[in-house]
Each structure stands twice: as structure tokens, then as C-alpha cells.
């Protein structure tokens, strides 16, 4: 009982101190004052509440003199490897450090209890990306034009995606300061995926128009980790008319796609009649997205609405929306990125750039101008890889799709073989025998299949004599 009271008190005090600290830091941005030693992950330190009143007001003091505890509540933390190249020594060592991210500052320590940070970088205006060039698994990098490149590696795919998210957000904090409130709001959501995404979308979604989405791309589009644009939080006009308006969201940058932002991709079809190309593009995008949307209610609504929308669209784009269906998700992201660009064009004149849009979409869906499938270019593979690394779900789905594709191909090949023998008009036992020998594995498979089918009726007794003997107990 007392423990509970104490922990409640503890929590409230900590919250207050944290808010004070943030105010303090906001007021004195260069100081690194951390009065509180609030520490979530290290319960031992709960007892000694910042007995160390270190001289934090001193600006000239090295920024590294912050113990892990003094950082307080971090935005993210965890073990990461850092690539350390010793000059002269031909080696790339990956050293493991405890990384703590606080807003835009990234500190790293040899361990969680370190008194002084081994290193610190301010991530503003850094470019955070996956590092394919590194041999190390789950490696990513942070680069800056003036500062040298930092390489990091996580221990798992999830960790890497998380860190990429977080670091990316840190890097944009100062790129777009006025978006702070909104982006933070969505950055949290994008990290806590399903949980929060169900909360945030419904209100802004219900009242969005295409005009708002046009505004979206005009925001600084250099955000690397696509956090969702502010128009959500600042819905200007709301046209909730009778027509089914599926929620809108757009990506500010085309390359990044956190899973939640993907889940929120959708187009408002408020003006679907007046903008057939847009509507169709919406259809195309939606084909991908809603397949992977978490079971949120708006998601389900979307699916239903999409079902209605799709049959109503009957244009040349229809076939490519179908063919882009099995395509990887990267193309979705690209499409969506391009669709973001499209509204810009739409600003000029609704139907004037249809051809251009069509061409862009075809290109993004890896189709040649006449609608055939073009093989993916290396660039597309790379882009797809980048997206995959950031999002485990996409990666898994991509793998599933690839597996399915190759299975399909092999099955088709089998079918060909069978077709070959069946379509032979003057088949005789000789030929059949030859064919059987030539396609022995296939024949085996067929036999097994047949056995399995007959198993339920005929094979059962046979199987059970082998498997389950009659058990008789004499008593």
C-alpha cells in the first residue's frame, strides 16, 4: 500500500521535474542541466534522487559529461553497435554502446550506468538511412554534409527500424520546427503502430478534402522518415457531404514508409467524379494499402468503400491497377509518393495532365508505356530494399510474395509438363513410361496428392493399422 503511494508520488514528481527540465532546456538551449536523476530502466537509482547537483549551467563544459541517469526520460535507447575505424589500423571494429536519444541529441555510453558519455552527436539535419554498403547486418548510417559519417548497427530488424525512425525524427526536429507538435504526435503514433494509430486517425480523417492534401506536399518534403503532415491536425475546410469520403493521408516523402503511414494511405473520394484520374490513382494506391491495414474501423470502411469504387472505375488504368496488385509494396510507396506529386499538378488544371500522370504511374508500376511489365531496375530494387529494411512487415510480405511467385512458376512448369503428355494424340504406353521417368518427381507428387485425397475414405484403415493400434486392456 505504501509502496503504491510512494510510486504514485514518485511518478508525479518525476513528471513535474521532467516538464520543468524541458522548460529549462527550452529556455536555455545550450545548457545541459539535468537536475533529476529519474530513471525508468534502472530501478536502483530511484532512491537517490539527484544528489549530484553538478554544475550544469556551465555552457563551456563538455557536453559529454552527462551520465545516463541524468538524461532522464529519453526518446529512445538501446544497445547499438558503432563502427569504429581506427586510423592506421586496417580494421573496422564494431563496438557496442548503450545509446540514448534525447530529442535531437544522441549520446552513447559504454554501459547503462556510465557517468560520462563516450560520444555525442546532434542529429539535426543529419540524413539517416540504411547502410547497405556495410557488411554488418541491420546496419544504418547517419550522414551530414559537414560532419563525417556515422555507422550504426542494430541487433535485429525491429531494432533497426525503430532506431531509423527515431533518429530520422530527431534529424527533422529542427528542419521543420513549426511542425513539431504535429509531427511529434504522429511520430509517436508511427512508432507505437497499431495502438496509437487507432486513436489518431479518426477525427482528422473524417473531414478532409483534396485541397488539404494539395497543401501537404508543399511542406518541406525532405523528411526522411515519413511522418505525416500537419494538415491532419489542422483541417481547414471540412466537406463532409454525402459521398463516401474515405480518409486521406499523404506522404510527404516518397521514400520512407513507416508501417503506420502506410496504413493511413487513402484518398478522399469526395470529388471522385470530377477527378477521374485522381480517383483511379486512389484506387491503385488503395489496392495495396488496405490489404495491409490493421483492423481499424476506418480501415474497414475504406475496404468497403474501395470495393464500391473499384468496379466503378473502368479505364485503361484498371488493368494496370490489377497488374500492380501483385507488385511489391515499394511500388505502392512510390505510387503514393508520386500521387503526392500529382496533386501539385492538379492545382494547375484538373484534367490537363492526365497523360503525364498516366505515364508517371505506369513508370512507377514498372510497366512500359504500352502496359507490359517491365523488369525492375536496379534502382527500384534498391528503393524497395530500403523500404523493406525499415518495415519488417513489408519485408515479410515481400518474401511471402516472392515465395508464392516462385511456387507459381514452378507449378506452371509442372502443368506444362503434364500438358505435354496429355496433348499427345498418339500416346502409347512406351511414351508414357518415358515421360514418367523423365518427370519422376512430378509423378511422385501427383501420387501423393491422390493418396491424400483418398485418405479420408479408403486409406484410413490402412493408415490406422500402422499408426494407432487397437488398444485393448484386460482388466
Amino acid at each position: 500500500m505504501f509502496a503504491k503511494v510512494w510510486s504514485d508520488f514518485e511518478r508525479t514528481v518525476r513528471v513535474k521535474l521532467l516538464s520543468f527540465k524541458q522548460w529549462w532546456q527550452a529556455a536555455f538551449p545550450l545548457s545541459v542541466s539535468n537536475r533529476m536523476a529519474a530513471d525508468d530502466y534502472n530501478p536502483v537509482s530511484l532512491r537517490h534522487k539527484s544528489k549530484k547537483k553538478s554544475q550544469r549551467g556551465n555552457v563551456t563544459m563538455s557536453r559529454r559529461r552527462i551520465s545516463v541517469k541524468q538524461l532522464g526520460q529519453p526518446d529512445h535507447q538501446g544497445w547499438l553497435y558503432r563502427k569504429k575505424e581506427s586510423k592506421g589500423f586496417l580494421g573496422m571494429k564494431w563496438k557496442k554502446y548503450w545509446f540514448v536519444l534525447k530529442k535531437t541529441a544522441l549520446y552513447w555510453y559504454t554501459n547503462q550506468l556510465a557517468e560520462k558519455a563516450e560520444g555525442y552527436i546532434d542529429l539535426t539535419n543529419f540524413m539517416v538511412d540504411v547502410a547497405i554498403e556495410c557488411r554488418k547486418k541491420y546496419a544504418f548510417k547517419a550522414c551530414h554534409p559537414q560532419v563525417l559519417m556515422f555507422y550504426f548497427a542494430a541487433e535485429s530488424q525491429e531494432d533497426m527500424s525503430l532506431w531509423l525512425n527515431k533518429l530520422g525524427l530527431a534529424s527533422i526536429q529542427y528542419e521543420a520546427p513549426r511542425q513539431n507538435a504535429a509531427t511529434e504526435c504522429y511520430s509517436e503514433a508511427s512508432d507505437h503502430e497499431e495502438a496509437e494509430s487507432t486513436e489518431i486517425p479518426p477525427p482528422p480523417y473524417s473531414e478532409q478534402t483534396l485541397q488539404d492534401t494539395v497543401d501537404a506536399p508543399s511542406q518541406p518534403g525532405t523528411t526522411h522518415q515519413g511522418s505525416l503532415p500537419p494538415p491532419y491536425s489542422s483541417t481547414a475546410s471540412s466537406k463532409t457531404n454525402g459521398s463516401p469520403s474515405s480518409p486521406i493521408s499523404t506522404m510527404t516523402s516518397e521514400s520512407s514508409a513507416s508501417s503506420v503511414s502506410k496504413q493511413r494511405q487513402s484518398w478522399s473520394d469526395v470529388n471522385s467524379q470530377s477527378l477521374p484520374p485522381a480517383g483511379e490513382t486512389a484506387v491503385v494506391c488503395q489496392v495495396q494499402v488496405h490489404l495491409h491495414q490493421a483492423p481499424q474501423e476506418e480501415g474497414e470502411e475504406d475496404d468497403r468503400e474501395e470495393e464500391e469504387d473499384r468496379p466503378s472505375e473502368n479505364s485503361g488504368l484498371q488493368n494496370f491497377s490489377n497488374s500492380s496488385g501483385p507488385k511489391e509494396e515499394s511500388s505502392t510507396a512510390d505510387q503514393q509518393g508520386d500521387v503526392v506529386a500529382a496533386p501539385d499538378n492538379r492545382d494547375d488544371g484538373n484534367n490537363s495532365d492526365e497523360m503525364e500522370k498516366l505515364y508517371i504511374h505506369l513508370k512507377e508500376a514498372s510497366l512500359s508505356p504500352i502496359g507490359d511489365r517491365k523488369p525492375s531496375t536496379k534502382r527500384e530494387f534498391r528503393a524497395s530494399f530500403v523500404k523493406r529494411c525499415k518495415n519488417k512487415n513489408i519485408n515479410e510480405k515481400l518474401h511471402v510474395m516472392r515465395v508464392l511467385n516462385s511456387t507459381l512458376k514452378s507449378k506452371e512448369a509442372d502443368l506444362q509438363a503434364i500438358e505435354q503428355i496429355l496433348s499427345d494424340t498418339d500416346l502409347n504406353s512406351e511414351k508414357f513410361k518415358e515421360w514418367k521417368e523423365a518427370n519422376a518427381p512430378l509423378v511422385q507428387e501427383i501420387c501423393i496428392k491422390l493418396d491424400q485425397q483418398g485418405a479420408s475414405e479408403a486409406v484410413n484403415p490402412a493408415a490406422s493399422t500402422i499408426a494407432a493400434q487397437v488398444v485393448e486392456t484386460s482388466i
Binding site: 484403415p461 490406422s464 499408426a467 494407432a468 487397437v470 488398444v471 485393448e472 486392456t473 484386460s474 482388466i475
Partner: protein, 128 residues
């Protein structure tokens, strides 16, 4: 012995009381059982419904306590001393029957002939 899923099982049963026979350290009943929810019901030669996973009497040793008590081969055991036998594993059934400190087991068994006998007596016109 018809089993309608979802409906309570009804059957015409016979009460059989078996006095266990001491054979040295063991108590013997003189019959064998087969079946159980963990067994394959398709192999049961005595059941009408080949999905019936109940406990059936597969052998009765002639002259033994079960035979004397009137247990017949092919009987389905519904209860043993009040314990249900229709939805038990083979081993559970065995255990209920072979309790060391019980010298008497009272079974409720059912067989096709019983049902038919009852049906016949019901259809036969009664004395007016």
C-alpha cells in the same frame, strides 16, 4: 445408441454388478475394454457409429466375474460406479475400473439388443 451432437445422450442401459476376483495381488474383472477418446474409433468392430469413441467390451473371459455378472462382448460401458465412461480416455476408463480398494464395480452398459427389445415392447400393443 444413437448420438446426436448437441443433444443429451440417451440409451437403454442395463445395470451390471461385477464382483472383482482376487488373483494373488490383483483384482481381476475378467474382461477387456477398447476405445476411448484418445483412440481410433474406426477400428471398433462393435460400434454402430464408427465415430463413437466410447468404451466397449472387446472380450469377456468365460467364467470370469464379468461373464458371471452378465457382461456381454460388444457392450458399451456408459458408467462405472457413477463415473461417466462416454467421454474418457482409454487409460482413464481403465483406472476407474481397476481401483484397488474397490471390490465391486457397478456398470451401466448398453447394447443394441437392449434398444431393440425396448422398441419392440413399446410397439407391441399393450393390454387394453
Amino acid at each position: 445408441m444413437s448420438f446426436v451432437p448437441g443433444q443429451p445422450v440417451t440409451a437403454v442401459v442395463e445395470r451390471i454388478e461385477i464382483q472383482k476376483l482376487s488373483q494373488g495381488p490383483n483384482l481381476v474383472l475378467g474382461f477387456c475394454i477398447g476405445g476411448g477418446i484418445d483412440q481410433d474409433p474406426g477400428q471398433n468392430p462393435f460400434s454402430d457409429d464408427k465415430a463413437d469413441k466410447g468404451i466397449y467390451v472387446t472380450r469377456v473371459s468365460p467364467g470370469g466375474p464379468a461373464d458371471v455378472a452378465g457382461l456381454k462382448i460388444g457392450d458399451k460401458i456408459m458408467q462405472v460406479n457413477g463415473w461417466d465412461m462416454t467421454v474418457v480416455t482409454h487409460d482413464q476408463a481403465r483406472k476407474k475400473l481397476t481401483k484397488k480398494n474397490e471390490h465391486v464395480v457397478r456398470l451401466l452398459v448398453t447394447r443394441k439388443t437392449l434398444e431393440e427389445a425396448v422398441k419392440q415392447s413399446m410397439s407391441r400393443p399393450g393390454p387394453s
